[in-house]
Symmetry: C2
Subunit: 201 residues, 2 copies
């Protein structure tokens, strides 16, 4: 049963390739071989390697958004925040190649990519709502949480944690710590509580 060759099929084998053989293994030659066609035939469906990388990154971001969103449903407050953090790590562990795709191929100027990126921000903003932060302050916290999740993911991806202390404990403690500080901040709020409409932090 031959798979019909379509953009989705190309993305599908690309996902497998990057996850199993590493991001660098994603070449048009490799993709064509997996699909049993010649390299130039790919140009009937995509407009080149750069395009393929972008599409793959977009796909990865969509999946990441979905999993992050799912991790937060049914939870609230600090439980939801921690779940979001772990959803990042989980995604990276299960899909190292796709995670690399979101790291390397960014082109954040691209409107499609930009939209997916800010969708993640919107999720966190929503979870933060009950805390009643001012908008500016909320953006600071969103950025902090995002940086924390992203930082842990990237460092583990690179192999930056070798010690025998379990990483999951560290992540848990780090989020607890940040959230605890966040509460303390709320009791003694700063002066920068102006309104802001733009939520694409």
């Amino acid at each position: 049963m031959k798979e019909k060759i379509t953009k989705q099929a190309i993305l599908s084998v690309s996902r497998d390739i990057v996850n199993q053989e590493g991001y660098d293994a994603l070449t048009l030659a490799r993709v064509a071989k997996a699909l049993k066609i010649k390299t130039p035939s790919l140009y009937n469906h995509i407009s080149g390697l750069k395009d393929l990388r972008k599409e793959l990154a977009l796909d990865a971001l969509k999946q990441l958004n979905y999993e992050v969103t799912q991790s937060a449903v049914g939870r609230s407050g600090d439980g939801a925040l921690k779940a979001i953090g772990f959803a990042f790590i989980h995604f990276m562990r299960e899909n190292p190649g796709l995670y690399a795709a979101t790291l390397i191929a960014p082109d954040l100027q691209d409107p499609d990519i930009d939209q997916e990126s800010s969708a993640i921000v919107a999720i966190i903003i929503k979870v933060l709502e009950p805390y009643h932060f001012g908008n500016v302050r909320a953006i600071h916290f969103v950025r902090g949480l995002r940086a924390l999740a992203h930082g842990f993911s990237t460092l583990e991806y690179q192999g930056g944690f070798q010690i025998e202390v379990p990483l999951d404990d560290s992540i848990s403690v780090a989020f607890d710590t940040f959230i605890k500080g966040l509460m303390a901040m709320n009791e003694a709020p700063g002066k920068e509580n102006q309104k802001t409409e733009n939520h694409s932090a």
Copy 2:
């Protein structure tokens, strides 16, 4: 006055290339052109592109370590921690190509690279000493601070922050938040305060 061609000279032009033209612009052909020699001649000094990337990453990590260390001297406690965080961001802003080199070329298995990575950990551990955390707990916090700094750097590098709220404010708030939570944690310590000797978190 012709520059004598040496490993250092190769690394020097490589630094300029990645910072000015992006990490992808680092090819042996490009380096050779900058040095006005032919590509194969480079093999008299380095053993290939992979080697060059590794050497460049090592160089970048050394510089990063130096700047992080310098940022902490004369400061203590939360002031020092925040300064370290900003040193990361500053390095990334001034040397985007070198920063990318540390992100992309890792090979964390390599002993040279590993040593430089754990040097950064040692610095933070030292700054945390006055807080008298147990070793396990200290490692958690080191990881958290490292992830925070790394996360902010990487996200800004990718262009992940577009809004008009200044990023430096967010970084400041995030570190304050984390440090505040850290103090609160210290007042109510957890149960996992065993001793550990390995400091290469």
